[in-house]
C-alpha cells in the first residue's frame, strides 16, 4: 500500500499537485516512485517556461528506463528543485516532501478540479 496524502490532487500519469491560491507544487506519487525504483537522474524544466496541462515537462530516469513527467496544470514554471540534480534518490525517499519537482504559477486554477482526489487515485492504482 502506498502513501496517498488526502490534501493533494493526482493526475492519471501519477503526478501530484498541491495548490495554494494560484501557486502549485508538483511531484510524483509514492506509487510512481515505487514503480520506477532506483531513480538515478532527474531533468527539470527551465524556470519561466510556459506549459500546458498534460505536456511533458521533465524526465525521471531509473536504472531501467527514462520516464516522461507531465505537468498536471497549465501555467508558468516559477521554481525547480535543483537539489534533485545532485540527489535524485530523494524521489524514492521523500516523494511528497524533499522531492517536489517544480512550482508553477497556475494560469487556469480551475483545471485542478478535473484531477483525481486521493480516493479516486487510490482506486485508479488498484489499492
Amino acid at each position: 500500500m502506498s502513501n496517498i496524502p488526502a490534501e493533494l490532487r493526482y493526475a492519471a500519469s501519477h503526478e501530484w499537485i498541491k495548490v495554494e491560491g494560484t501557486a502549485g507544487t508538483v511531484g510524483i506519487s509514492d506509487h510512481a516512485q515505487s514503480e520506477l525504483s532506483d531513480v538515478v537522474y532527474v531533468e527539470l524544466p527551465k524556470v519561466g517556461t510556459k506549459v500546458t496541462a498534460g505536456s511533458v515537462v521533465a524526465t525521471i530516469e531509473s536504472v531501467k528506463a527514462a520516464s516522461d513527467i507531465y505537468t498536471p496544470a497549465s501555467g508558468e514554471i516559477t521554481e525547480v528543485n535543483t537539489a534533485l540534480t545532485k540527489n535524485p534518490e530523494l524521489v524514492n525517499k521523500d516523494p511528497y516532501g524533499a522531492a517536489w519537482l517544480f512550482k508553477i504559477a497556475l494560469s487556469a486554477p480551475d483545471e485542478v478540479q478535473k484531477l483525481q482526489d486521493a480516493a479516486a487515485y487510490k482506486t485508479a492504482i488498484g489499492e
Binding site: 525504483s37 532506483d38 531533468e43 524526465t59 530516469e61 531509473s62 536504472v63
Partner: protein, 369 residues
C-alpha cells in the same frame, strides 16, 4: 505492455509472485525484472550471490555420429576444441554473417552436445538447425521440460555445495558436470552472464519449485538473494557481455561486435557467413562495437541514442544504463572504426542536449581473480 495472460511462463512463475517480484514482458515471457530493487540485487551478485530464473532459455540436444562435424558447419567457434564436459561461447550466423543467436555449446559425450540458446530465439534457432540436420544426427528440443537457474556471485560455489552436498563435483570454468539432487538429474555449468564466478544449473522443470526453494534456503545464511532481469542487464553490461537483439543483430557480424575470438576461420568446415567474414577480416570492419562512459555525469545512455563528434553522427548506442559499480552512465555502441579507439572523446545526444563521453577499454568491470 502485452497482456500477461498471453505470455509464456516458466515453472517458477508463481514462486516469483510469492517472493513479491515485479514481472514484465521479456522476449515473449513473463519474467521477474526485480524483487527488492535493481541496484540492491546488482550489489548482491557483486558482493555475495544472486539467483536468476533462466528457465525461459532453450536447451537443445544434438547427438549421433557426425554431430560434431554438423555443429562445426553450423556455428562459428571450433567445437573440435571441446573436450568432453567442456563448453564454449559460439554464434549462429545467417549467410550474410549477421548474428541469428549467440549460444553456449557443451560437449556432454564424444558425439552428444547441449546447446543453450536465447529464449526469444528458440523457435527460429530450432527451425534453422532442423532444416540443416543431416541423416544420423538427432535433434531434440528439451526447452519446455528443462528448468534452469543461474547462481552468480563470489559465494555461489559455496552455496551450490551447501545445496548439492560435499560429493558434488564442482566444474572447472566453462565446464559442465552431471550430478543429482533428490534423485533428480542436475547439470551444473561453470558459466554465467554477470562477470562473476558462478554456476548455471539445469534440472527437470517439474522439480523447479522445490529446487529453487531449497537453493534459496541453502543460500540464505550466505546472503543469497533472488535477482531479476533488471540486475542481469546491468551486470552483463558492466562485464561487456553482448545482448542479442541489442548489441547483436542479423545485420551485425561477430567481427563488428568484437567477438572474433569465438569465430574459427581456420577450421575445416564451412559455416553460414564464413565467406563474408573472411572478406571482412581481410578488408577490416567499418564499424565496431565499443564501450563508452560518461565523463562528467548526466543522464544515462539508452539504446538507439546517437553519438556525435562535432556535427557528425558517428555511432549509435545499442545498450546503456547507469552502472551501479562505476557510479556513472555506461554503454555499448557501434561507432565508425576511426572513432573506436579507447580515449576517443565523443558526445552523446540525449533529448536534444549533448553529454560528453569517452570510449574506454572493455570491460567496465572485471572481477578480481
Amino acid at each position: 505492455m502485452s497482456d500477461p495472460a498471453s505470455l509464456q511462463k516458466t515453472a517458477l512463475h508463481s514462486a516469483h509472485q510469492k517472493l513479491g517480484a515485479r514481472l514484465v514482458e521479456f522476449g515473449g515471457w513473463h519474467m521477474p525484472v526485480q524483487y527488492t530493487g535493481i541496484v540492491d540485487e546488482h550489489k548482491a551478485v557483486r558482493e555475495t550471490a544472486g539467483v536468476f530464473d533462466i528457465s525461459h532459455m532453450g536447451e537443445f540436444y544434438i547427438s549421433g555420429a557426425g554431430a560434431h562435424a554438423f555443429l562445426n558447419g553450423l556455428l562459428t567457434n571450433d567445437a573440435g576444441k571441446l573436450a568432453v564436459v567442456q563448453g564454449q561461447y559460439t554464434l549462429m550466423l545467417n549467410d550474410d554473417a549477421g548474428v541469428i543467436d549467440d549460444l553456449i555449446l557443451y560437449r556432454l559425450l564424444e558425439e552428444e552436445f547441449l546447446l543453450v540458446v536465447n529464449a526469444a530465439k528458440i523457435a527460429e534457432d530450432r527451425a534453422w538447425i532442423q532444416q540443416r540436420l543431416p541423416a544420423g544426427v538427432t535433434f531434440e528440443d528439451r526447452s519446455t521440460a528443462t528448468g534452469a537457474l543461474a547462481l552468480q556471485g563470489p559465494r555461489s560455489l559455496q552455496i551450490a555445495r551447501a545445496l548439492l552436498g560435499a560429493g558434488w563435483p564442482m566444474p572447472e570454468h566453462n565446464h559442465i558436470t552431471a550430478y543429482s539432487w533428490n534423485c533428480q538429474p542436475v547439470f551444473a555449468a561453470r558459466t554465467g552472464y554477470t562477470g562473476e564466478d558462478g554456476v548455471e544449473l539445469f534440472f527437470p522443470a517439474e522439480i523447479a519449485e522445490a529446487f529453487f526453494a531449497a537453493l534459496l534456503e541453502a543460500g540464505k545464511p550466505l546472503g543469497l538473494k533472488p535477482t531479476g532481469l533488471g540486475a542481469r542487464d546491468t551486470l552483463r553490461l558492466e562485464a561487456c557481455l553482448p545482448l542479442n537483439g541489442n548489441d547483436l543483430s542479423p545485420t551485425r557480424t561477430p567481427l563488428e561486435a568484437g567477438l572474433g575470438a569465438f569465430v574459427s576461420l581456420t577450421k575445416a568446415e564451412d559455416f553460414p557467413g564464413k565467406e563474408v567474414l573472411l572478406k571482412q577480416k581481410a578488408n577490416g570492419v567499418n564499424e565496431k562495437l565499443v564501450a563508452f562512459r560518461l565523463t562528467q555525469g548526466g543522464p544515462p545512455p539508452r539504446a538507439h541514442y546517437a553519438l556525435f563528434l562535432g556535427e557528425t553522427r558517428v555511432g549509435e548506442v545499442t545498450s546503456g544504463a547507469p552502472s551501479p559499480t562505476l557510479g556513472c552512465g555506461v554503454g555499448l555502441a557501434y561507432v565508425e572504426i576511426e572513432f573506436a579507439e579507447p580515449g576517443t572523446k565523443l558526445e552523446l545526444e540525449v533529448r536534444g542536449a549533448r553529454v560528453p563521453v569517452e570510449v574506454v577499454k572493455k570491460p567496465f568491470y572485471k572481477r578480481a581473480k
